[in-house]
């Protein structure tokens, strides 16, 4: 197709603008605090990795980073395992109330987390899940299970139903067909679903902060409490920010073609 002559230039200009705030935070993370609060400079005068060293040696910081990784991973796996059979059911069968159920799932993905704050706080304390990794992982299933079901259903509906029928004729039972034939066929869908569950759990702050205090405190909550008597430790805050982007930045390459699909709940 014909392209606008200046399209390329405009796009890369946009790309640079998009990266500016990110690069600025990175620049901030490799300066000593005196330089940050001293005179304003575009390029760091002195480069230091002290902020990163502090992050990895102070247990408050690195343990909350690990907490986040632990509960997001647990959540991603749990959501996927629960969602797989359900997504298959929605993509292959008609059953009583299926549409209502599918809609009801969506309403949970769309519900404002703030609505669930109070009950989560009280229920999780009552059942002993308060301030545990499992507790946060379960709480995040609120929006991640519906997300996983919708994404997987979108992928599964793209696979012709003749395959199911052929396998049935060949004598495969449903569980055996599902594990031996179907799962390998939707490998990429499983990867994409895991990625999106991990991501949406990783970015969530409100619920994770409310139902934790010390043992399972997420990195996001630690970051919002950096104000000390000496003021905000900007360099350390920036370093923590850079480090929380790393997991997403590592896997982004593998999911680049599925990002639109994941965000649109498998509908694009």
């Amino acid at each position: 197709m014909r392209r606008l002559p200046w399209a390329r230039t405009v796009f890369w200009l946009y790309g640079i603008t998009l990266m500016l705030p990110l690069l600025w935070m990175f620049g901030m993370s490799i300066r000593p605090n005196q330089d940050i609060l001293g005179s304003f400079r575009l390029i760091p005068e002195r480069v230091t990795f002290d902020n990163y060293v502090t992050f990895f040696t102070d247990p408050v910081w690195y343990s909350s980073y690990l907490n986040s990784i632990v509960y997001t991973s647990m959540n991603a796996v749990m959501s996927l395992v629960i969602a797989l059979p359900a997504a298959y059911a929605f993509s292959r069968f008609r059953f009583a109330g299926d549409k209502h159920l599918f809609f009801w799932l969506l309403t949970n993905r769309m519900a404002p987390p703030a609505v669930f704050l109070l009950p989560f706080f009280q229920i999780y304390q009552a059942v002993g899940l308060f301030d545990t990794h499992l507790g946060v992982a379960i709480a995040h299933m609120l929006f991640n299970v519906p997300l996983a079901v919708w994404i997987l259903e979108g992928f599964m509906s793209g696979i012709p139903r003749e395959i199911d029928e052929t396998a049935a004729i060949d004598g495969y039972s449903l569980p055996r067909f599902f594990v031996r034939i179907f799962l390998p066929m939707i490998r990429s869908a499983i990867g994409v679903t895991l990625f999106f569950c991990f991501m949406f759990s990783w970015v969530e702050l409100l619920i994770a902060r409310t139902i934790t205090s010390v043992n399972a405190k997420p990195i996001a909550a630690t970051m919002t409490r950096t104000v000390s008597a000496a003021g905000v430790d900007w360099g350390l805050l920036a370093a923590a920010g850079v480090l929380t982007i790393v997991p997403g930045a590592i896997v982004i390459w593998f999911v680049r073609n599925y990002i639109a699909k994941g965000f649109s709940l498998g509908r694009v």
Partner: protein, 305 residues
């Protein structure tokens, strides 16, 4: 899967045959784990909220049934009303800015060659940043003393800008942050829509001597209808429940300038621990979201099949 125009409604049986789905109520066993897990994470908490919303709770043993009193007081509360209007206004501005901008980015995004994966990764990066870090990035970037953005506005453009003191500046900061954060989503969705247009369409347009604008208006834009509907609804829902980013950057202030519904609700719920009003507030908020969600569902299940 490409988005198509909504098809005319068909009878359920005919629809089943067209989709090749079998009727089997045993499929309920497959969805049972999902139902149980969501019941624990959503239904029980929601029932608890209903319970709070109709009682005045002084202590666990001392409570009074007050009926719909909290709903009346929340609906009349000027602070809640102001937050509602503020959130609606914010969502409207978000849509007006992000949808056209996202489509524009999608149109200029490279479509062949090595630039494609690079462009996809570049555009998608803001989407994968934790929301509180998005807040942190802008908290730093927009500060007039240490942030490049805030510094440039003050010293290069010569404006008096400080988002921690001025309500207007705070609003603009949160809005620009949201545009920065979420325009990539609109762009990626629109890009996926544009890629699904077969090449012969463009060849035909070229033979007819159509201008770039005419090609966009009559070939590309109509084909984007499905994906843009999804983009509009997603952006509406998510901006309507925005919490983390303004919480980190402005904390809802200065004053109440950026205190959106979720920010106010979590203040009442966790900050003041007012169970009754918070419960009633939650349910009204939830109801408003449900209505939009129903529209969303109807659109989603009719497009893209």
């Amino acid at each position: 899967m490409t988005a198509t125009l909504p098809s005319r409604r068909t009878e359920p049986a005919a629809e089943d045959r067209a989709q090749g789905k079998r009727r089997a109520n045993r499929a309920w066993f497959l969805v049972l784990p999902v139902v149980v897990s969501v019941a624990f994470t959503a239904v029980i908490p929601l029932m608890t909220v209903v319970n709070y919303s109709v009682q005045d709770i002084f202590s666990p043993d001392d409570r009074l049934f007050v009926g719909l009193e909290w709903f009346r007081s929340v609906a009349r509360d000027p602070e809640v009303r102001a937050a509602f209007v503020r959130t609606l206004l914010f969502s409207a501005q978000v849509l007006l800015l992000e949808i056209p901008l996202g489509v524009a980015v999608a149109v200029v995004m490279p479509r062949r060659g090595l630039g494609v994966p690079a462009a996809l990764v570049l555009v998608a990066l803001p989407l994968l940043i934790p929301w509180n870090v998005v807040g942190t990035i802008w908290q730093i970037f927009a500060r007039p003393d240490i942030g490049l953005g805030g510094w440039a506005v003050n010293n290069v453009l010569g404006l008096d800008y400080n988002y921690t003191l001025d309500a207007g500046d705070a609003w603009i900061t949160v809005l620009v942050m949201d545009v920065w954060h979420w325009t990539p989503l609109v762009a990626l969705l629109a890009y996926a829509g544009l890629r699904s247009i077969p090449d012969p369409y463009f060849q035909a347009a070229q033979i007819d001597g159509a201008s770039a604008w005419a090609t966009f208006r009559h070939i590309q834009l109509p084909r984007l209808r499905g994906v843009l509907t999804i983009a509009i609804l997603l952006r509406f829902m998510d901006s309507f429940m925005i919490y983390t980013e303004p919480f980190v950057v402005t904390g809802g202030g200065p004053g109440n300038a950026t205190s959106f519904l979720s920010v106010l609700l979590s203040k009442i719920a966790v900050g003041q621990f007012d169970l009754g009003p918070a419960g009633a507030f939650s349910l009204l908020y939830f109801l408003a979201v449900q209505i939009v969600c129903y529209v969303f569902f109807t659109v989603l299940t009719r497009t893209g099949r």
